[in-house]
Symmetry: C2
Subunit: 223 residues, 2 copies
């Protein structure tokens, strides 16, 4: 039965991508099976191999989409915030990313996928670095450098950026622990996330200013 086709039936390939993106972002490459993807996409098991050669092929395509999407989004956000002072841009960066990662209402599989790959890499890591991390890292570098009053080549820039990013990512990745440390029934509401973002912002801003006051570290090389 051709499903009275056309309207409902998004092309199979696209459905596979959608389902895979969601699952991969949530649980990682190794903890998702091809069968599960195909079942949720309403396709036969062989669908993945036909359309993407193999599981890794599908994953890499999802990664590519994530990288492109994130770049587009972040360029837009940073452009919009360009006139603001670097302090405000930092605050925006933190709040936005944290919401993407923590808010269950947000459905930003892209940010989650990149975060996961950063910490639990697969053969697609190089792809994500080239297409997802390097293109935007300069932009953030400039923001931090401005706050530091230093040049982009200063090793403190990269260190401070990592210190900020570490806090953001850690709250996402250590959620299982947090859930057990906090009173039962705890949930990440938008308000709580805002409060958290503000903490990270204040903490980080002070940290960066402290780094600015110190001499350039002796080791010229990163990190």
């Amino acid at each position: 039965m051709p499903e009275s086709a056309g309207l409902i039936d998004v092309e199979t390939r696209q459905r596979l991508l959608n389902v895979a993106a969601e699952l991969f972002a949530e649980r990682g490459f190794n903890n998702v099976t091809v069968r599960e993807i195909c079942q949720l996409a309403g396709t036969n098991v062989a669908g993945v191999n036909y359309h993407f050669r193999d599981k890794l092929g599908l994953y890499k395509e999802v990664v590519q989409l994530a990288a492109d999407g994130m770049n587009r989004l972040k360029v837009d956000v940073m452009n919009a915030a360009e006139p603001e002072p670097p302090e405000e841009r930092l605050r925006t960066y933190i709040r936005l990313t944290l919401h993407h990662l923590l808010d269950p209402h947000e459905e930003s599989w892209m940010e989650k996928l990149i975060a996961r790959e950063t910490i639990d890499p697969t053969p697609a890591l190089d792809l994500i670095i080239e297409k997802g991390i390097k293109p935007t890292s300069q932009r953030y570098g400039r923001m931090i450098a401005e706050l530091l009053g230093a040049s982009l080549g200063d090793p403190r820039v990269w260190r401070c950026f990592l210190s900020v990013h570490a806090q953001i990512l850690f709250y996402k990745m250590s959620m299982p622990v947090s859930m057990r440390m906090f009173p039962p029934g705890f949930k990440y509401t938008p308000e709580i996330i805002d409060g958290l973002a503000e903490h990270i912002y204040q903490f980080s801003l002070a940290g960066i200013r402290a780094a600015a006051a110190l001499p350039r570290s002796t080791t010229e090389c990163y990190p």
Copy 2:
């Protein structure tokens, strides 16, 4: 041939534990096979099941050892640092933990195992929280609270601790990314790690002091 036994032959059970600890800490529960453990331990495949019931049983025993070992170590370190001001204790905590995680010469599988479980949990997570995290967390809480000039119940305590710990753990977990961002041939030498630890310390100390200057956040509940 009985291997002229007695001297060389550590009891099989112990050899399995040693090998498993190393492998689990390095690659995580799911990325290590029973066969691999047994082979490196010079045992038959059934060895794990005979001595530990199943793979998870072995893992839990390793986790137990890690938790106990870490507690002992940290209590000692913190006791030794007790007379020092909280600033110095913070510095010590950061430097020590970072060396455990990053220095390839250190062979601290315990710290690595706990770090991994924090970020990529297994059914042994509850065990690690009860035996490995909770017992020492109060101690660190006091250190942070002292720096903040706040009481242990203040939500800022936990947040600041996480901000510090996030930076430490992140440098470990994002090593695959770092290795690709830095010039080829880069290595974590003890000197570089020391420099990094100093950065995290200065960054964090300023962050904590900034948090101390702000009012207690509105949301009473963690995090």
